[in-house]
Structure formats: structure tokens, C-alpha cells
């Protein structure tokens, strides 16, 4: 008799977990499995056919373009990460420790989110008239006499791509870091001062170690977003730069689904490895 209610409880538990499980299975797990399966299919110029062959992967790993493009993607991710971290940490530090009043804190935080009120394509494209050959930036610099002729590298370059990435994704770094910083007991900072720590020592020995989980969460956001992006690179480089996302999108445009799927699988694995390495360093569990 004792077993019956226990069994009921198990059934109930499964039932309660069901809706989310179904959603995840249908919209996360199944598509990934599908992509993995398709990545082993074969393709000709005009058709694709089910098979189990490694042609796509062989071609992918055999091509020097792949390594170059993965290298470029990691470079974008690394530079964007460094810049968003520097800006995000500074902004979060200012909000959390310099602004004393909660009202002003919230107000400033909301101001940070204003760019998100429009689509990110619009935010991205609005850089183009600013950075272009005859754009505001070049004209201003010329009128100030800083430069004699327009800077060519402002637009359609790595510079503009990374600028757009930083603009788009810095907030993803600010939010988790700010959140972690707000949880730091202010008396710890006083204790550090009481123990003779200078402002910089407090930052390095107290604030930074305690902010690590937030930095890690922000890092995961930024790295995954940048590595999976293709539209920013296309618009901001004027289709002159490539990253893995563009590789995939080009394959899809040419209806080369098996090849696109194989690239996607490799990209997914790369991102997962990067995240796994990051999680080795910091335990973010207590933040979640």
C-alpha cells in the first residue's frame, strides 16, 4: 500500500515536467538531431540525398578557407569580448558603487537599455551613414583638421564589424556584472579600506574576484552571440569579411543543406568547447 502514493507522485512529477520537456524536445533537441543527421547526407549540384557519408566533413576540414574563417570568427569573438568586458565592467562598477541612490541607479540602468528599443538591424545600419567615406565621422575629422582625406578603414572593415558587435552586445556584459556587483556587501569595501587597501587594491583583491561569476555569464552571452552571428558581419563589412555564420548562410543560399549542416555542427561543437573551458575556471552555479 505504501508504494501506491509514491508511484502516483512519480507519475505526477513526470506529468508536471512534461510540457517543458515536449517544448524542448520539439524545438531544441529534434532540430539539432536533424541538423546532425543532414550533415551526413550527400549533395549534388541539383539535389540532396539521404546517406551516411563523411564527404561534408572531409571537405570542411580539408579546406584552408574553413580554418581561416573559424580563425576570423574566434578573432571577432575575442576582441569583442575584451572590449565589452572592459566597457561593461566599468559601466557596471559605476552603476553599482558610484551611484548611491537606488532611483538614479534604476534610471541610469534603463537608459542603458534604450538602444534595445529598436531592432538590432536598425542599430547596425545607423552606423553606416556615420562611418561612411563621406559620413559624419570623416567630415568632422576633416573639418577639425585632424585628417586630410577620408579614412577608408572606418566602414566595411574589421573595425566597423567589431564596433557594431561591441555596440550590440555590451549590455549583455553590463547586466550580469551589475547584478553580481549589487550583491556584494558594501561593508566588504569598508572592511578592505579598514585593512589598508587602496581603491585599486580593493578592486583587484575584493571586487574583481567576487564579480567573476557575473563576468563569466556575460562572457558566455557575448561569445555565443558573436560566434553565431552572420548579419552584422555581412552588413558592417559590406560582404568583404567572413565568419562561420556567413559560411553557413552562403551554403543555405546555394541550397547546399548538408554542407551547411556540417558547418553548423562544427560551430556548435566549437562554442560548446569554449563554454566548457570557461566553466572550468568559474563556478557560476551560485549565481543562477
Amino acid at each position: 500500500m505504501a508504494a501506491t502514493p509514491l508511484k502516483n507522485r512519480h507519475v505526477l512529477g513526470w506529468l508536471m515536467a512534461m510540457p517543458l520537456s515536449v517544448v524542448l524536445l520539439a524545438f531544441l533537441f529534434a532540430p539539432i538531431v536533424m541538423i546532425a543527421v543532414v550533415s551526413f547526407w550527400g549533395a549534388t549540384e541539383f539535389s540532396i540525398y539521404p546517406a551516411f557519408q563523411f564527404d561534408n566533413y572531409e571537405f570542411l576540414f580539408g579546406s584552408p578557407v574553413t580554418y581561416k574563417v573559424f580563425g576570423a570568427t574566434l578573432k571577432y569573438a575575442l576582441i569583442t569580448w575584451a572590449l565589452t568586458l572592459a566597457i561593461g565592467f566599468t559601466v557596471a562598477y559605476f552603476l553599482a558603487f558610484h551611484v548611491r541612490s537606488l532611483t538614479i541607479q534604476i534610471a541610469l540602468f534603463l537608459i542603458c537599455t534604450i538602444p534595445f528599443w529598436t531592432s538590432n538591424i536598425i542599430r547596425m545600419i545607423s552606423w553606416i551613414p556615420f562611418l561612411g567615406r563621406n559620413g559624419i565621422a570623416n567630415q568632422t575629422l576633416i573639418s577639425w583638421g585632424v585628417i586630410d582625406e577620408p579614412l577608408e578603414w572606418l566602414l566595411y572593415s574589421d573595425f566597423s564589424v567589431i564596433l557594431a558587435f561591441v555596440h550590440l552586445y555590451t549590455l549583455f556584459m553590463v547586466v550580469p556584472i551589475f547584478n553580481t556587483m549589487m550583491r556584494i556587501d558594501k561593508s566588504l569595501l569598508e572592511a578592505a579600506r579598514d585593512n589598508g587597501a587602496s581603491g585599486f587594491q580593493t578592486l583587484v583583491h575584493v571586487i574583481l574576484p567576487l564579480t567573476k561569476p557575473g563576468i563569466m555569464i556575460g562572457t558566455i552571452f557575448v561569445v555565443t552571440l558573436v560566434m553565431g552571428d552572420f548579419i552584422t558581419v555581412r552588413f558592417m563589412s559590406g560582404s568583404q569579411r567572413a565568419n562561420v555564420g556567413r559560411l553557413i548562410s552562403n551554403d543555405i543560399a546555394l541550397l547546399q543543406y548538408p554542407s551547411a549542416a556540417a558547418t553548423a555542427v562544427v560551430l556548435l561543437c566549437t562554442v560548446l568547447i569554449v563554454i566548457a573551458i570557461l566553466l572550468r575556471f568559474v563556478n557560476i552555479r551560485k549565481e543562477l
Binding site: 556587501d185 578592505a192 579598514d194 585593512n195 589598508g196
Partner: protein
């Protein structure tokens, strides 16, 4: 003639905008004494402590330590150390590294600072837990670490901000005897902020009672308890009845009040059995609440019930006149 590291407050004032948190304090803390700043919350005792520590700016006046004005100095340069109310241990550092923190900030090399930290941990009997993180310690253990961390800077004055309030009552009593013992061994001044009069009486060589941003009364614990100067002190320190007589307000200790056949008429409001004694709360005809603390055998020889009319008597010599 004053000697040693005495601490003196001169016209010390703290304003927050329009409100005055601490008004024109003048006081000399004798070196090597255990001083309790006692008062209700919001009376300015914490602000005073934080100004001495250097975590709050002084609006006016000065803080003299050994004859030097320390008010403009950074907290670590004053020769004071503070123990925070919630201990403020660094959660990412081990107990040993917490204690060694200030030495690390000074650039002392690792073996030296660990050796010194171990000495302090031995002093507070925490050597066996030196490698733990603060989150793995109990409240009392965290407090000992906080104490060791404050003492590692070799302060001349240790400032304790309600150090026992986070502990359970049993531990509180044990920790307060340890604090007292430590103070006696080290021979430095402890300034301890509390709102508990029992804590102040148990610990302090000198009690400074604060109310409404000023010092109401300061003196040795026995003197403050036996001869409260004001009605506020008499009520706050406990154990006293404030009675309005024709000649003015007087206090009489609760244990000096007896129930008798004649004396002041009163009505019993409540009776509380406390073990060794019985607390009889009464209200006089004048409206004063008077508490009589009777020995248990005496009360049960002639028990009373709430609502009974009684007469209160006391020895005239035990009346104490309030000056304010």
C-alpha cells in the same frame, strides 16, 4: 595626567543634510578600557563609532588619538581597527587569507603574513579552521575570524559595531566573556556599540549612554546603573522605577520596592515568575508604572493577583533624585 593611547572626542559633530546625527560630543576614553556606547537605535552611537573608524566623515570637531588629530587620516592610518556588525569577511578568501589581508595590502611576503595570521588565529582559537572559507563557519567562528582580522593590524583602539547582535543568546553570553578576556589580555581600548543594557553592564568598564545625538551620561558601569542622571538613562538602563513625587522625579530600584501594609497605593497589573524572583508590575494612583522585584519565597508567602490593590513601600535612603 593622561598617558598612553587615549582617545578624545572634541566637539565631534555629524550632520546628514539638515539632520544632526551626532551633536557636539566631548569625551575622553581612558586607555586600555572597555567602553560601551549604549543607546537606542538612531541615537548616533554607530555614527560616532564610524567617525572614529574613519568610515564616516566628520562634519565638525576632531578626534584625537594620542594627542594627534586623526580625523583627516584614512582608516588604516589611524591606529584603529573596526569589527563590522555582520563581520564583513571576504567570502572568496580562506580564514587565514582573511586575517592576513591587511598584511597583503602592505606587501608583506606570503610566509611572513601567514605566520602572523596563524599567531592571531591561535589567539582566538581558530587554528584548526584556517583553511576554511567564511561560509563554512558558524556565526561565532566568523566573529572570531573578524576579531583576528581586526587585531592583525595591531590597533590601539578596537571598534566593535554591535558585535554580538548576530549571535544566538547562548553564544552571545559566551562570546562576551571572551571579548572581555581578550581585551584584558591585549590591554588596548575596546569601544563597543550596543543597544543591549545587559551587554553593556556585563562588559564595560565605562558606559557612555547616548540619546538623540548627545551623551546623556558617561561613567563606570556601576555608577551609571546606581545613579542615573536623567529619566531616559534610568529607563534605558533598566531595573529602575521612575516615580513622580511632590519634590520631583525620583528613581527607586525595582529590587528595593516592597509590598507592605502602608505606603503608596497601587494596583497590580501583571505578575511574572522569574525563578529566583517574582516581578510584580503595578500602577500607582499617580499613573506611574512601578515594578517590584520580590524574592520568590517572600512573594509566595503572601501571593497577589492582577487587579489586587497593594501598597508599595521603600527605604527613603534608596530613593535617587534625577537631575533632569
Amino acid at each position: 595626567m593622561r598617558t598612553g593611547y587615549d582617545l578624545e572626542l572634541v566637539h565631534l559633530t555629524k550632520r546628514y543634510g539638515e539632520t544632526v546625527a551626532v551633536r557636539d560630543l566631548n569625551h575622553v576614553f581612558a586607555p586600555g578600557s572597555y567602553v560601551c556606547l549604549l543607546g537606542p537605535s538612531g541615537c548616533g552611537k554607530s555614527s560616532t563609532l564610524r567617525m572614529i573608524a574613519g568610515h564616516e566623515e566628520v562634519s565638525d570637531g576632531s578626534i584625537l588619538l594620542d594627542g594627534h588629530d586623526v580625523a583627516p587620516l584614512a582608516p588604516a592610518q589611524r591606529g584603529t581597527a573596526m569589527m563590522f556588525q555582520n563581520y564583513a569577511l571576504f567570502p572568496h578568501l580562506s580564514v587565514r587569507d582573511n586575517v592576513a589581508f591587511s598584511l597583503r595590502m602592505k606587501g608583506v611576503d606570503k610566509p611572513t603574513r601567514h605566520k602572523r595570521a596563524n599567531e592571531l588565529l591561535a589567539l582566538v582559537d581558530m587554528t584548526h579552521l584556517a583553511d576554511r572559507l567564511p561560509a563554512q563557519l558558524s556565526g561565532g567562528q566568523q566573529q572570531r575570524v573578524a576579531l583576528a582580522r581586526a587585531l592583525v593590524t595591531e590597533p590601539k583602539v578596537l571598534l566593535l559595531d554591535e558585535p554580538l547582535s548576530a549571535l544566538d543568546p547562548f553564544l552571545r553570553i559566551r562570546m562576551r566573556s571572551e571579548l572581555k578576556k581578550l581585551q584584558r589580555e591585549l590591554g588596548i581600548t575596546f569601544i563597543h556599540v550596543t543597544h543591549g543594557q545587559d551587554e553593556a553592564l556585563a562588559l564595560a568598564d565605562e558606559i557612555v549612554v547616548m540619546n538623540d545625538a548627545v551623551i546623556e551620561q558617561a561613567g563606570p558601569a556601576r555608577e551609571v546603573w546606581a545613579q542615573p542622571r536623567t529619566e531616559f538613562v534610568a529607563r534605558f538602563i533598566g531595573g529602575h522605577n521612575v516615580i513622580t513625587l511632590p519634590q520631583g522625579k525620583v528613581t527607586v530600584r525595582a529590587d528595593a520596592v516592597q509590598l507592605a501594609d502602608e505606603g503608596m497605593a497601587a494596583t497590580v497589573m501583571a505578575i511574572e515568575y522569574q525563578g529566583a524572583s517574582v516581578a510584580v508590575s503595578t500602577t500607582t494612583e499617580g499613573g506611574d508604572e512601578v515594578l517590584a522585584l520580590l524574592p520568590e519565597d517572600q512573594f509566595f508567602a503572601a501571593p497577589k493577583n492582577p487587579g489586587d490593590a497593594v501598597r508599595l513601600r521603600w527605604d527613603e535612603a534608596r530613593l535617587h533624585r534625577l537631575t533632569a
